[in-house]
Structures are given as C-alpha cells and as structure tokens.
C-alpha cells in the first residue's frame, strides 16, 4: 500500500500540476493537527480525487491549495511555482467551486454570469455575451436565465455556481463536493463536461463523498483520514489492492444447510487470518452470513484459499453446490473498509 510517505516525489516538475510536500495545518497553538504532514502530487491533465470522511481534512487542504488559508508548514507548488510566492499569478489560472453555495442574490442568472466573466478579466463585451450564451446552453440554464439567483432552487443555484466557473479559461479546477444538490442528470452532465475539459488539458482536484463519481471521473485517488493520507492509487489500483482482500462469495447449496456443516464453514472462515501484520489496513474481519435455508455469504481476505477448502469439504459432508458467485467490492466498500480500518488502528493507538 502506498502512504503519503511512500508516494514518490521524484516526478519531473513539468509533469506535476500540484506538488504538496509535508503539509501541516494547526488552528492555533496546542490544538491538534488537522493536516498532519501530507504529501502528494497531481499530474497535468488528470482528475485527482481527494476522498475522506467528514472532518478528515479535505476542505482544509483545498482551502490551503486555493490560498484561502495559510498552512502551518509545508511546501506547495502549483504549475511548478511556489504557491505562497506567486499566489496572484497562480490564482489567475485556477477555478474554484466550493462546497457552500455562492451567488449574487440581487442579479439574474444571465447577468451574474456576465459579471463573473468580467471579474475574471473577460473585457470584450461581445466575447462575454457569446460565452454566456454557450454556458447557458451547455448547463441547461436557458429557461432560468431571467430568474434572480435568490429565487432559484438549491439545485438550480448549484448549477449556476458550477456553470459560472467555466466563464473563464483555467488550467486547474478545484471542485469541493460539486454535485451536492444536483439531480442525477445534472450530475452526469457536469461530470461529462469536466471529462471533456480534462481531455483538452484541464487538471481537476476533486473532493467528493460519492464513490461512483470518484470512480467515474478520477485518474488517481487519495484517501485522507485524521489529517493523513492513508491510501493513494488509481481507482483500479485501489480495487486490485484492497478488493483482492475484500471479495465476497455467495454459495447456494442444493439442500438445506445443517448445523454441523455450518460450523465447519465457520471454522474455515475463522482461520482466514490477515496476510501479514504490516497489512492492517488491507485486513477485513472474516464474516459469514446465512441467507435463507440453503445459501451463505462469506467475506474473507483470501478468497481463493477459502473456495478451495470449501470445495474439499462439500462432498465429504454429502452436500452439493447449486450455484457459486464471487463478488468484487465496489469502491465505496473499499473506501469504507480502508477508513474503518484506519479508525480502528487510530483508536487502538
């Protein structure tokens, strides 16, 4: 497993849009570190998913990266430049959609997009007007363009907030849980729009709670908990790394299960120990669940070993398997497993 300490920091400077080294944040002396020495790098033209439970440190990290907060210590380079020395230069090339709503209450949607374009330095009135038209169409806002922002529903306001960010050209976009309040079609439309921009070179730093989104959009994912990065990989990498340990088997037998046979199965599952002591985070506690009279669901770390053992004992006990299926865990299950185990270890300490 890669941890923040293991993540290679030897990338070519030109490859990294963001590089964070040993970042720490403490809100006042004597208070706990909310960001505890994290390091990671985000390559150009990729979507970097920053996942974690509530209060893990996602938004604090994002606020530091967008210059809204100063860190206690650590180095950050964006576009190969020191964030703290070249703040204003860097800010001109980034976009930020924060998790809280932000809107100009007194303005109509069309006018607020136009104003936002102007604030971003889009001085040519005609170019701005064309851009507003394009954004209204892309984000399906034409029907509400003459509505005031404070008259919109939460979802509509969110759509305007997201659309607004595309009024200006940027190289890096920070999205802090951007799909909160959006309906499924608007959510999909947004994710596809982001994908399109990423193909044209945009880099995206994305925080979310919704694992399906992370899986759909992200090239790499870091999982943060208690201010530390506890896992970092591609979505497929995470699945391979942790999914191997967290698969479940469902077996349906031709006849109803009897108690002695279930006890034998339980013994097999219990013996399925963790791979090694170093692999605490990968470890899933074995579980066996009876489903109806003739089926069981087993969650274990080493699925292959358990299956081969079950195949051996089934004929010996006069049983016959009707159906067997092996299920890979979703990213959400993997996330829960990683964060859950991290919490267990944290509590043990």
């Amino acid at each position: 497993m890669k941890t923040s300490q293991d993540i290679p920091l030897t990338y070519n400077e030109n490859e990294n849009c963001i590089k964070v080294t040993n970042l720490k944040k403490q809100y006042g002396k004597g208070k706990p570190l909310v960001i505890n020495g994290i390091s990671f790098a985000v390559k150009y033209g990729t979507v970097f998913g920053f996942l974690g439970p509530n209060g893990a440190g996602k938004t604090t990290t994002l606020k530091i990266l967008t210059s809204l907060l100063n860190p206690t210590s650590g180095d950050i380079t964006i576009f190969g430049k020191d964030l703290f020395k070249k703040q204003s230069e860097i800010k001109r090339k980034i976009g930020v959609v924060s998790q809280n709503p932000s809107f100009e209450a007194n303005l109509k949607v069309e006018r607020s997009l136009d104003l936002y374009g102007l604030l971003w330095g889009l001085n040519d009135r005609k170019a701005r007007k064309d851009k507003v038209k394009e954004i209204l169409k892309t984000f399906d806002l034409e029907s509400i363009k003459n509505s005031k922002n404070d008259e919109l529903s939460i979802g509509q306001r969110r759509r305007v907030q997201l659309a607004r960010e595309f009024m200006h050209d940027m190289n890096l976009l920070f999205l802090d849980e951007p799909t909160v309040g959006l309906d499924p079609s608007a959510r999909r439309m947004l994710l596809d729009h982001i994908k399109k921009h990423v193909k044209s070179g945009l880099t995206v730093f994305f925080t979310t709670h919704i694992m399906e989104e992370a899986e759909y959009l992200c090239d790499e994912i870091a999982i943060i908990d208690n201010g530390k990065i506890i896992a970092f990989d591609t979505p497929i990498g995470l699945k391979q790394r942790y999914g191997r340990m967290n698969k479940s088997i469902e077996i349906t037998f031709k006849d109803n299960l009897n108690e002695p046979f279930v006890n034998i199965l339980k013994d097999i599952v219990k013996e399925n120990k963790k791979v090694s002591d170093d692999d605490e985070l990968n470890y899933t506690y074995p579980e066996i669940t009876l489903k109806g009279g003739n089926a069981i669901k087993i969650k274990v770390n080493d699925i292959e070993k358990v299956i081969s053992e079950i195949f051996l004992i089934v004929p010996k006990n006069g049983m016959e398997i009707e159906n067997i299926s092996v299920n890979s865990p979703s990213l959400e299950e993997i996330f829960l497993s990683i964060v859950g185990n991290s919490k267990d270890n944290f509590n043990k300490r």
Binding site: Y27, K63, T66, S67, L68, L69, S88, K91, R92, I94, V96, S98, N100, P101, S102, F103, E104, A105, N106, L107, R111, S112, L115, L118, L119, W120, G121, F174
Partner: protein, 264 residues
C-alpha cells in the same frame, strides 16, 4: 511594486467597485439615501427653524439659517449613514458565499477592503451632490462656493467615508452574526449622530458635552463640509482636517489588519 503589479492591483479594485455598485447593493438603498435627507431638510429643518426663530447659527464670523446649517450637516450624516453599506456588503457576501469566492479569484483581502471603501466614497460624493442639488433653495443665500472651499468639502466627504467605512468593516469582522453587528452599529451610530454638530453647533454646549463632540469624527466631517460650502476656513478648520485625517488613516489601518487576520 512593479507597474504591472500596480495595474493589476488597481484594476482589481475597480472591478470589485463595479461589482459592489451594480450587484451587491440593493437599489432601495440608493433611493433611501436620497429620500431620507429630503425628509430631514424640508420637514425637520423648517420645523426646527420655526422653534429657533430668526436668530440663525454662527459659522465663523457670519450667521446662516438653521435649514442651511442642517442641509450641510446632512451631507456628513449621509456619509455616515451610507457607510453601513460596507458592513452590509460584507455580511451579504459572507452569507451568500461570495466573500469566499472572491478571495479564491485573483483578488485579495486588501483589494476587497479598498473596493468597499471606494464604493462608499462614490456613494458619499453622489449623495452629497444630490443633497446640494435638492437642498439648494435652503443654502443658496448663504453659500459661497470657491475651488479652495469645495476641495475641503470633498476632502471631508472622502475622509469621512474612509473613517466610517473602515469602522463598519472593523465591527463586521469582530461580530459573530449580522444581528449582533446591526445592534452594535445602530447603537454606536446613534451616539455618532447626536453627539455631533450635524443637527446643532458644538459651541455654547456645557463643557463635557462639547468636548465629547470633538471625540467624534462626524463633528469634523460636518464642520469641514460647512466650512467649505460657506467658505469659512480658518485655523480651527485645518486642525479638524488633521484630526479627521488621523481618525481615517487609523481606522483604515485597523480595518485592513482585521480583514487580513480574518479566518475564512
């Protein structure tokens, strides 16, 4: 600071000023800024005039009517009243998430503070011009407009906007909610209004009260504005200019520091 940096800094302030004027302020505020002084000048002014009689009020060596005194005082009053908008813009921006968003854009907190103060200066000068035009019949006989005199008036309005704008920014950064801010600012503004020379002159008041008038920048704003419009600039006016400058610079420095220190 290089020229390009200065250009970027100033153009950022101008963009935020444009935003404040056309997006952040409710139109009703502008209407109220004009209607309120009209009410004060033409109703309160003439009503009190009837009470005071024809004795007039001394400005330097000459005497002016109470309505003329009040009209020029209302210009200073309007600057103070208008400064509430700096706090309102800030609270609304926080409530609607725009403060956070603006600072994530290529603007910083100092630009944000200055843009709010420039907004007040624009509002202050516009409403003062409107008051002069609306109140012209009341001051026409006594006024003596000179370039030198009007520059004092403009200075008083600009410095007054900076002082009261900074003051409301300091209050709004220190208060935890907009409700607390409103209670505090309304309470303090009552002190500013009534312990000032907006409605009545400081001369002739009992000593402790008269001294309290000169701890109030609104007194300087009203006095300097009048001195400029009626061309009665003397050594004391220049002393008031100095005092107002110190109040304004001090308030601006504290407001900027409070804003920079503010945790987002």
């Amino acid at each position: 600071m290089k020229f390009t940096d200065k250009y970027v800094f100033v153009s950022g302030i101008l963009l935020l000023l444009y935003r404040n004027l056309f997006a952040a302020i409710d139109k009703m505020f502008f209407i109220w800024q004009i209607l309120f002084p009209v009410f004060q000048i033409y109703i309160m002014g003439y009503a009190y005039s009837a009470l005071i009689g024809d004795q007039g009020i001394n400005i330097g060596t000459s005497s002016i009517s109470y309505v003329a005194f009040l009209t020029t005082g209302m210009m200073g009053f309007n600057v103070m009243q208008g400064s509430q908008i700096a706090g309102t813009i800030f609270w609304n921006d926080r409530k609607n998430g725009m403060f956070h968003q603006i600072l994530a854009m290529p603007f910083n907190k100092i630009q944000y503070v200055i843009a709010n103060l420039v907004t007040l200066i624009v509002i202050g000068l516009t409403s003062a011009t409107a008051i002069i035009l609306i109140g012209l019949p009341t001051i026409f006989q006594d006024m003596n407009i000179t370039v030198w005199g009007i520059s004092y008036t403009i200075f008083a309005l600009v410095a007054g906007s900076i002082f009261f704008g900074s003051f409301t920014i300091i209050l709004s950064t220190k208060m935890k909610s907009s409700e607390t801010y409103n209670v505090f600012s309304n309470g303090l503004f009552i002190f500013f209004i009534f312990v000032s020379s907006v409605f009545y002159p400081a001369e002739g008041l009992p000593q402790p009260l008269s001294a309290a008038f000169y701890f109030n920048p609104l007194t300087y704003i009203a006095d300097i504005t009048r001195a400029g419009i009626f061309s009665h600039i003397d050594a004391f006016t220049n002393l008031e200019v100095l005092a107002l400058t110190l109040f304004s610079v001090g308030a601006f420095v504290i407001a900027t520091r409070a804003m920079v220190k503010l945790q987002i």
